[in-house]
Symmetry: C2
Subunit: 623 residues, 2 copies
């Protein structure tokens, strides 16, 4: 089914088809860099005399270098062939050529993007990427704040750090007014609960108002607010301070995430100190999307119990199933609850799925066709503009080298409330703008990552001319694969085979989860055992050579009490002797999976055949 | 004064002296990788047909690629010449050649070190680096836990995350015993305050004891402890739980840092939610080292007020002055206080200075001479083994590419108490060891960073054969430079010049801070203005070409009420009309600073002359 496409050119290719281009560009950037050095104060003499480069010590060193490097690159050969269409396991692939070359070119210069003095060029790249992503999500790039970080997990911590500052901003303004004799803005609520439920855009206008009043008194509004912020007191003492000032306190804030949330969210509860018990998991439906009714129910409970909601996390592309939370419906629920006095900021964990939004940005030449399989993704993407922040990982569907995550905040003014700076980097006199380091969690970060992402985006824009086209193809491939699984299962049934093949849900992005099921299974344990065995067969092992891998897929687990299992006509009849079921997980990152092996079979079909063969042998061999 | 040295060969060289080696090795790793791909299922046909590589679309793409890449590398030429001996500004330099090549080689393979399935090779590199660093600091590599992260700021957050888990472990065991009917170990204290002051090594043996009792009851001790951990409840609710169970509560824990601590520590107080007001700054002495008496005083106050100390942070190499806290004396203070019922874990922020410990590790061929200027560093390094954890940045004095930070924990067992895992990465059946991702803050990280650090260490071992030798040279250069500043100041005084040159302290590592002082200054403002002007003259600007830089130095600020300013015979006489003074900061990362310009002057002398010239003109021009 494959057609040649300019999309192919984004990558080196599974057979290093574009090797000449890679080599040419590597040579270009290395030579260009070498001679940049030589042109800086050209008359200064060499530091390493030519003679000493020929000496015995230098020869020894080079010999050792070669030997150690050989060992290293020999070890690397046992790494996983992510580049191959035979790899359909995790959300990792080959790095796109532009990003790779840009990373190399920039690493030579070694800029550190926390400080303008250490990265006058690449900080601009990073801020440009931030604006591009803000635009992609429908935020106003002039007032949003977007930047890169080492990965999505960090960006998610940052969302909590920022939204905690935003959540408590009105309360801190009220505290500051009472304590420092500033006249409170007229529309600033007077009581704790409504102060904890001011929507962020309104908090921003209150903040403007507060600031001018503070300035009239000769006070620095940011300094005053920092003094009365939750970050100054810490969670426990801030509550005491609030109680002392207002005569009433508040309950522990909660964070709402779907049951499918990445494990990093649990860790964030420990790290940020709000507690794992206050991370509430919202039930998902049979296709692993946050359930609208369950979300409404939990918000109602929070309102009734007066539990402030720090943020609600919706997921655009779960890492386990690729499912997409129904953002429009969920936002409606939040909006209705807002009118009833309970507010929640919305953070979208699109670490995995953020780039899919580019499918729906028309390019100069073309736009995405309306395809049924893209419906949920389309509706969610179109709703992003109404959310408060987004995490997205350029090192996932952006095909940039690790580590390149990003955090994009709609209400960019919040950054001034969390800012912290170093003496040696505070003054930016003579430089074009503020240091990034003040507003982010990291203390140093490679400018090379910013260059890699920007070059990827320049050659493959964030619309249907570039990423959109590529990612739509991957979603379609997943949908086609899902269809083949269904067809094969029908064939197995007709042939009275001992095996059933289930695709867990129609894919909403580019992930398909499979279950192999013994036709005569009585218990979940039997199903689990068969899938474990298959996962081991097609999993990464401690190998002597990668040649041993024909196909690689990954695995995950599905809880036995999920709507999927409980609602399944067959699985629900089995004895529930296991808490969870192992299943196979395929992530389609590589368009060439629809290409053909040397035997003329499509890779995806060939894999399914190998899987059937292996599993059938397991089933019949065991008899 | 410079001699040729094999140390020079670690780097490309300011004139790209080792360009042939760089090019040869780049070509090797790229070719080697290209043909690795081609050898995986060699009979599978190419995915991009040869013909389509010659087509118009491909030509267009390559044209755009060249154009965009040219623009990118032209922008990069305006980056800062970190590689040059004329750059003495921030703690950044060129990347060492082995690290650079290893990063490139590994980036091609694109491993992600959070999961063995995505990095079977490079996770081993990372754990090996962890053991090397543990050994360097005197920890037992078999029981310590060390790993890489994106940078030291993150490693410092991690120290708090881990030590919070450790601090509250005994209390959580006591809670769990009462609540789940487990018999408490005999030597587990019964009251809250002593439970919050159990030294970590004793906590570990209590934990072993607790675990076997839990297991006897058929309970999973980790699961039980996680249920009763502070991470489960969150800070505020955990306190309530403790009060309910024990009938008494505890005060907010504090974190102690020297006044010189990196700004990231303030941020950590907001991020982890313990509050900036609970981050207590311990006074420093006139050379910017934590004051022993002040530390003892603050610990006494904490004991008297029953304020638990989450951790004390000592700094080995402050980023502003390169000063080294007197670890042996400070540890003695802690030990004495331990006997008086107050314990504190010790975390060493050696993000900057950790690699200097390699000076005191004898190599196979040689060992460091006893030099007076290395005394404080030597004593601090020899005490690291008695601390609880260390942050160190291979991307600083380890000359690795960004981002490569590291966290090393002596009591590695703590990692099981914070572990969190993903379903799709939990099982490591068939693989040699556990996933790293369970124990760290990040959710993805480049395997390339681990490869870069390991190759640097293999060619330049962490002892006097490798890093130790290089870093000792840099400390010596700083000391020599400091001496020259003193000598020049004497000369200026004798010549009745309008200028004085101060070196703020004898360097304890490789940083020298300078003040240029108008001889007739009456106020701190005058001194500040002159230094600001000099900092601008020798600082990074928004340039059209790097050729405009002759020398680059950085700046920092010194508080007007620091012992240095208050104790200085001249500065202390000036009107204190400023809170802080700008000063010039020079970081010696480059041995070639003692080489000669084309005019035959040593770079460091030439810089001093340029500085004097500029500042004198400012002073006399202003008259």
């Amino acid at each position: 089914m494959r057609k040649d496409s300019p999309l192919d050119l984004f990558f080196l290719g599974p057979k290093s088809e574009q090797r000449l281009l890679l080599k040419e560009l590597v040579e270009l950037v290395v030579d260009d860099y070498i001679f940049w050095r030589r042109n800086y104060h050209p008359k200064d003499p060499p530091a390493i005399p030519y003679r000493s480069l020929q000496g015995e010590a230098a020869e020894d060193y080079r010999a050792r270098f070669h030997q150690e490097l050989f060992e290293l690159i020999s070890d690397l050969k046992l790494d996983v062939p992510f580049f191959s269409p035979r790899y359909m396991a995790h959300m990792v692939s080959e790095v796109a050529l532009p990003g790779l070359i840009a990373y190399l070119a920039t690493m030579l210069y070694n800029p550190n993007n926390v400080s303008l003095e250490a990265s006058p060029v690449t900080v601009d790249f990073e801020l440009e990427v931030g604006r591009q992503l803000a635009t992609l999500f429908g935020y106003d790039p002039a007032t949003a704040f977007g930047h890169l970080c080492s990965g999505g997990t960090l960006a998610n911590y940052e969302s909590l750090w920022y939204h905690r500052a935003g959540k408590f901003l009105p309360l801190s303004m009220a505290l500051a007014c009472r304590q420092e004799g500033i006249e409170a803005p007229a529309d600033l609520p007077r009581e704790v609960w409504p102060l904890l439920n001011v929507p962020l855009p309104r908090a921003e206008s209150l903040f403007q108002n507060f600031s001018s009043r503070a300035q009239e008194l000769g006070l620095d509004p940011i300094a005053v607010l920092r003094r009365w912020s939750i970050g100054a007191f810490g969670d426990a003492e801030y509550r005491l301070q609030v109680e002392e000032t207002f005569g009433e306190t508040y309950n522990s804030p909660v964070v709402l995430v779907p049951q499918t949330a990445h494990y990093g969210w649990k860790r964030s509860a420990g790290l940020l100190g709000f507690g794992r018990r206050n991370l509430l998991a919202v039930a998902v439906d049979e296709a692993f999307r946050m359930d609208r009714g369950a979300y409404a129910e939990i918000l109602r409970r929070c309102r009734d119990e007066k539990r402030p909601v720090l943020q609600s996390v919706f997921i655009l592309g779960t890492t386990e199933f690729g499912s997409v939370d129904p953002l429009p419906e969920l936002l409606e629920v939040r909006d209705r609850m807002r009118e009833n006095g309970l507010d929640s900021a919305i953070h979208v964990d699109a670490a995995y799925g953020g780039y899919f939004a580019s499918i729906f940005q028309p390019g100069q030449r073309s736009r995405a066709p309306d395809e049924a399989c893209l419906g949920p993704l389309c509706r969610a993407s179109a709703t992003l503009h109404a959310t408060d922040s987004v995490t997205v990982d350029p090192h996932k569907m952006g095909y940039a080298p690790y580590g390149a995550g990003a955090f994009v905040l709609r209400q960019g003014f919040l950054r001034h409330l969390v800012a912290e700076g170093a003496h040696y980097a505070l003054d930016t006199q003579g430089l074009p703008h503020e240091d990034l380091g003040k507003f982010i969690l990291e203390g140093s970060k490679p400018g090379a990552a910013a260059a890699a992402v920007i070059l990827n985006h320049r050659l493959f824009p964030l619309n249907f001319d570039g990423y959109g086209n590529l990612l739509m193809d991957l979603c379609r491939l997943a949908d086609i694969f899902h269809g083949r699984v269904l067809a094969r299962n029908d064939a197995l049934r007709e042939a009275d085979a001992p095996l059933r093949l289930l695709s867990i849900a129609r894919p909403e992005t580019n992930i398909v989860c499979l279950l192999v099921v013994p036709e005569d299974a009585r218990t979940l344990a039997e199903v689990d055992a068969l899938n474990r065995s298959a996962a081991l067969r097609f999993g990464v092992r401690d190998v002597a050579s990668v040649q041993g891998y024909d196909y690689l897929v990954s695995k995950t687990r599905i809880g036995s009490d999920t709507p999927y299992v409980r609602g399944h006509p067959f699985l629900s009849t089995l004895t529930r002797d296991r808490d969870s079921l192992t299943c196979l997980r395929l992530v389609f990152m590589n368009r060439w999976v629809s290409g053909e092996t040397h035997e003329g079979r499509e890779y995806m079909d060939d894999f399914l055949e190998s899987l059937e063969e292996y599993v059938t042998a397991e089933l019949t061999g065991g008899e």
